[in-house]
């Protein structure tokens, strides 16, 4: 409903006034570089990846130093253990691991004798039945919207995350949903475009291929993405006061470690 509120604000602004955007210079702080870990374990036969990098100051280019030579290990609660090897700088992989729903995975990363750990439980998989396209109109602008349909299992909390790719290119928006108000029902999650998103490549046109990656994530990971999404719009002054999303990794590392299911489903715009 919060996003609805933003839609309302957007609507008012669009109708009543001419809002205007400009790029400004801002004075930002600097901080010592922080360790960033992004770990994903999925249930499909793909290379499971742990990426380790560092933050840079806000004013620097978007080039993030890879952290090399880390010792990376993942264990599950059934007594298995996998050592990850560094394939490219800062990217650690294991070919033998395959995630299973219901298992809890524990990540251990050792960087220069600092140890970071995190654990995540892969939820049971809920598969999408279909994805569809609908038209949505704000003012005089009509856009196509991708919606995912599935049946939510009753009696258990479920958390969903989607990644939307248009013609193979990932869009920036964070899509996470839970079944707090929809437990056990035939559900539809609409992947609203960012109302301020003027990037034409994110607009679906005839012949475009929209691919949705559907993930079942655990509660901590949902909170991580949900917090990130709350902050991504409205920005300072408009929306929620931004902060670092709650990481499930200890010892002050940024990022997350998620064991989640994976399903890819796509549609071509007619």
């Amino acid at each position: 409903m919060k996003s609805l509120f933003y839609l309302v604000v957007f609507f008012i602004i669009a109708v009543a006034v001419t809002s205007c955007e400009k790029v400004i210079d801002v004075k930002t702080d600097t901080s010592p570089s922080q360790l960033v870990i992004e770990g994903n374990i999925t249930n499909i036969r793909q290379q499971q990846t742990i990426k380790i990098s560092r933050t840079v100051d806000y004013t620097n280019p978007n080039v993030y130093p890879a952290v090399r030579g880390a010792l990376v290990n993942v264990k599950d609660n059934a007594g298995n253990s996998w050592n990850f090897t560094e394939e490219t700088p800062g990217v650690y992989r294991s070919v033998s691991i395959l995630g299973r729903p219901g298992r809890t995975y524990t990540l251990t990363v050792n960087v220069e004798n600092n140890v970071y750990t995190a654990s995540s439980t892969m939820p049971a998989q809920v598969r999408a039945d279909s994805i569809t396209l609908t038209d949505i109109t704000f003012g005089s602008r009509t856009r196509k919207l991708v919606a995912v349909h599935y049946t939510d299992p009753k009696g258990v909390p479920n958390y969903y995350r989607y990644i939307l790719r248009i013609n193979g290119r990932q869009t920036n928006r964070v899509y996470v949903y839970d079944d707090r108000l929809k437990d056990g029902n035939l559900s539809k999650n609409e992947l609203y475009p960012d109302t301020e998103d003027d990037d034409e490549r994110n607009e679906l046109k005839r012949g475009d291929v929209a691919e949705v990656e559907m993930q079942n994530i655990d509660k901590n990971i949902f909170n991580y993405w949900f917090t990130l999404r709350q902050q991504s719009r409205g920005g300072p002054g408009g929306g929620t006061t931004p902060g670092n999303p709650p990481s499930n990794i200890n010892n002050g590392a940024l990022g997350y470690f998620s064991a989640h299911t994976h399903q890819a489903i796509s549609i071509t715009v007619p």
Binding site: L7, V174, L181, G184, G234, G243
Partner: protein
């Protein structure tokens, strides 16, 4: 312990003042002051009595009543009120005397005066600090957004009051949050004072007689909010003649009717307003736009009946509604309803009583219209309020005492899905609370130089069943749950709120004042968006939420010069706040039965210096207000547990208001505002997550948005005075005349055509906006 000692200190003083007066042989002169043309009672009119045996002075109360007690003798009574002709009368006081005075409006050339209270030296003499009385006539001449004159936007030009944001009616007083303002309309609480998401306020200026803002030194008859009271009173209705007035503007139109029902016994007032943006939308040929709604309307009505000079009843009400809808997507409706029944009884020339029975409700509904994701969600907060207030006027004391009981019901959320909806029906338990208080205060004229206003308010809040009440562990999961039957107390809080202010007059022109007051608050708004939203959640103090408490001390220096034509004041304050509320990461506030598990509790402090210079008379009137302030919050778990600036912490806040009356027909005005940008959190670093740039934050709210500066201009042209009753005027306005792009929000993102860099993008809402309004009256 500290309450107890305060109480014992107060007790002898209170007894002293009750019995002191009766000991001497004195008589009382009392009565009601009214406008001769409309019969409206005049609030705050100055009544002075002077003679060889003594002199005294007072101001009329909220119902135009005054009472003065002096020794037997011959006196001259003089009554004055802003933009009215002075009335003087000679009387021989040998028994208790009743004297009602009808005052005639002054001639038109008398310039606009920026303060309603007439007692010209009130600024210097009154022990009351931190109070601002708005002259409703002033609003006719000030420039505002879309030409909609607005009480809430005008008070934002006063020192110590900060605007909620561009074009927003939300406001922050002396470092308080926007839900810490008690907003009263004829004594009824208005929970959501905004229309159209805060761009307009619920107060239709046509229907309003007075608006008083207390930002410190709050008198003890007020309570329930930490930082301010905005006490708005509606017009009673013309008791002499039938009259009509209205206006046509760009956004909305207004119409007011008033007149006598029974001559000199009863009159009525009804005032309505409606916007027509949606009517314009309907005219647009594009069928997609046609299906949208966007409007608000409101209605104020009041009737009174005077049984005799001693007994009057008033019935007043407000009804307002906003409707927003986007075709096939959703609708959102919200509104307030208030009703106030009051009975004034004058027991004798010294004892005035008012009994009020008040109802108020705020509700909203949100409807999603999608064929799968559909529901209708409703929520409301409702109060019944019974209030008894006495005012006792004696020689050197004005005593005010009374009691109040308010019953609250909050229905947090009811979700009703359609038959094929993916949503489950949900009804979150209602919450019930009883807020009771008693108060006593005394304005004591100790000597010609020293005036005291002191008192005590007790506040007792009890949350009661039926319902299931939970406590939560640090993860936000339910730790314990207990079910209570109907009427059983779940939690009680008792607080004592001492209030004290004093003024010491150095000489006729200069005075110093000091005040201390404690306030508590048991109704809290949960909202994690920057501006006010119709779906803000209300919660009461509970087993998880303790009452918010604020203690404020203030000192001031007041100076009037040139026969009170200029007023200056310097006030400084320090405020401590306890049990303040913030939200955890990923807090889910809407439709959440366990919303209390999503909260963090901490403390706050605010301090500042307010400078105010006002020119009250002449062709050019206006004021300059400047506030230097700091507002900070501290929460375990946020910002490493150290103080951080609140969002509305703006170091400098300046407003310059000028009104120039050129001649009988033309009045020009302008205001300029400048304030430091909001305290915001900018990223210190960045990193990549999921292929997308993410930002790393260090200190909370340690950065500043760019400053806000805005010049607004307006001109009012009065129609020719043709000697007929019909009068009209045109108002022309330019909002943001310099077309400065003031920051509304700042977003950080990758440069669209260069993903190797990031940039900060500022969004501004309003450029230059012209407006025109035609007003009429007959």
């Amino acid at each position: 312990m500290q309450y107890k000692s305060t109480f014992y200190l107060l007790l002898p003083l209170l007894f002293f003042c009750c019995f002191n007066a009766a000991a001497q042989k004195k008589f009382t002169i009392s009565g009601t002051i009214r406008d001769a043309a409309t019969g409206e009672t005049l609030i705050g009119a100055s009544v002075k009595i002077d003679g060889p045996n003594g002199k005294a002075g007072t101001a009329t109360n909220g119902y135009g009543f005054y009472s003065l007690t002096v020794a037997e003798g011959t006196y001259t009574v003089s009554v004055s009120y802003v933009s009215y002709q002075l009335v003087t009368k000679s009387i021989q006081l040998s028994k208790n005397t009743s004297l009602n005075v009808d005052m005639k409006a002054g001639n038109e050339l008398t310039a606009v005066v920026v303060s309603a209270r007439d007692r010209k030296d009130q600024n210097v003499r009154s022990p009351q600090m931190g109070v601002e009385q708005l002259d409703m006539k002033l609003l006719d001449n000030l420039p505002v957004l879309f030409g909609e004159k607005d009480v809430l936007k005008t008070i934002q030009l006063l020192p110590g009051v900060k605007s909620g944001g561009e074009g927003n009616t939300g406001f922050f007083v002396r470092g308080g949050a926007s839900d810490q303002n008690l907003i009263l309309l004829d004594e009824a609480t208005v929970y959501n004072s905004s229309h159209l998401l805060g761009f307009f306020s619920t107060f239709n200026a046509d229907a309003i007689k007075t608006a008083d803002l207390y930002k410190g030194g709050m008198p003890s008859q007020y309570g329930g909010r930490l930082s301010s009271v905005l006490d708005v009173k509606m017009n009673d209705g013309n008791s002499k003649n039938f009259s009509m007035q209205g206006g046509l503007g760009l956004i909305s139109s207004r119409l007011k009717l008033e007149g006598p029902l029974i001559k000199d016994k009863s009159s009525f007032m009804i005032s309505a307003r409606r916007t027509y943006i949606d009517l314009i939308l309907k005219a647009v040929p594009d069928s997609n736009i046609k299906g949208n709604t966007l409007n608000f309307y409101d209605l104020n009505a009041k009737v009174n009946y005077k049984f005799d000079d001693k007994n009057t009843i008033y019935l007043s009400g407000y009804f307002g509604q906003d409707n927003i809808g986007i075709k096939d997507l959703f609708t959102n409706d919200w509104g307030n309803t208030t009703a106030t029944l009051r009975y004034n009884h004058i027991f004798n020339s010294r004892l005035f009583s008012n009994t009020s029975l008040i109802y108020n409700k705020y509700s909203y509904s949100v409807e999603l219209l999608d064929e799968v994701n559909n529901f209708r969600a409703t929520s409301l907060i409702r109060d019944y309020n019974l209030k008894q207030d006495f005012q006792y006027f004696s020689n050197k004391h004005t005593l005010r005492f009374g009691a109040q009981a308010t019953h609250h019901r909050i229905a947090p959320s009811d979700l009703a899905p359609g038959s094929s909806s993916s949503f489950n029906p949900l009804s979150i338990e209602n919450r019930y609370g009883l807020e009771s208080s008693a108060y006593i205060s005394d304005e004591y004229n100790v000597s010609n130089r020293l005036n005291l206003l002191y008192g005590l308010r007790t506040s007792w809040f009890s949350l009661h069943g039926p319902g299931t009440f939970s406590t939560y562990n640090s993860n936000g999961d339910i730790a314990t749950s207990q079910t209570y039957e109907r009427g059983k107390f779940v939690q009680n809080y008792f607080n004592l709120e001492p209030r004290f202010s004093a003024s010491y007059t150095i000489n006729e022109r200069n005075s110093i004042k000091a005040s201390y007051n404690r306030n508590t608050q048991n109704i809290h708004i949960l909202s994690n968006s920057g501006s006010s939203s119709p779906t803000d959640q209300y919660v009461m103090s509970s087993n998880n939420i303790r009452p918010e408490i604020a203690d404020q001390v203030a000192f001031g220096f007041f100076k009037n010069i040139k026969d009170n034509a200029y007023e200056f004041s310097v006030e400084t304050y320090y405020k401590w706040m306890q049990n303040q509320i913030e939200y955890k990461d990923a807090a889910r506030l809407l439709a959440n039965a366990d919303v209390e598990s999503q909260l963090l509790f901490g403390s706050g402090r605010a301090y500042g210096l307010e400078l105010y210079a006002k020119k009250r008379t002449g062709k050019l009137t206006g004021w300059i207000s400047y506030t230097l302030s700091r507002t900070e919050r501290k929460f375990a778990g946020l910002n490493n547990g150290s103080y951080f600036p609140a969002r509305q912490d703006r170091t400098h806040d300046l407003a310059v208001v000028g009104i120039y009356k050129l001649n009988k027909r033309w009045t020009f005005s302008g205001n300029y505002i400048y304030n430091t940008g909001n305290a915001v959190t900018y990223p210190a670093g960045k990193y990549e997550i999921g292929g997308v740039t993410s930002f790393f934050y260090t200190q909370r709210n340690a950065s500043r948005m760019p400053y806000t500066g805005r010049l607004d201009l307006s001109a009012t042209l009065e129609g020719k005075d043709t000697g007929k009753r019909f009068r009209s005027s045109w108002s022309f306005g330019l909002y943001n005349a310099l077309n400065r792009k003031n920051p509304y929000s700042i977003d950080f993102r990758d440069v669209p055509n260069d993903p190797t860099r990031t940039e900060a993008v500022q969004t501004a809402l309003f450029g230059i906006i012209p407006s025109v309004t035609w007003n009429f009256k007959f």
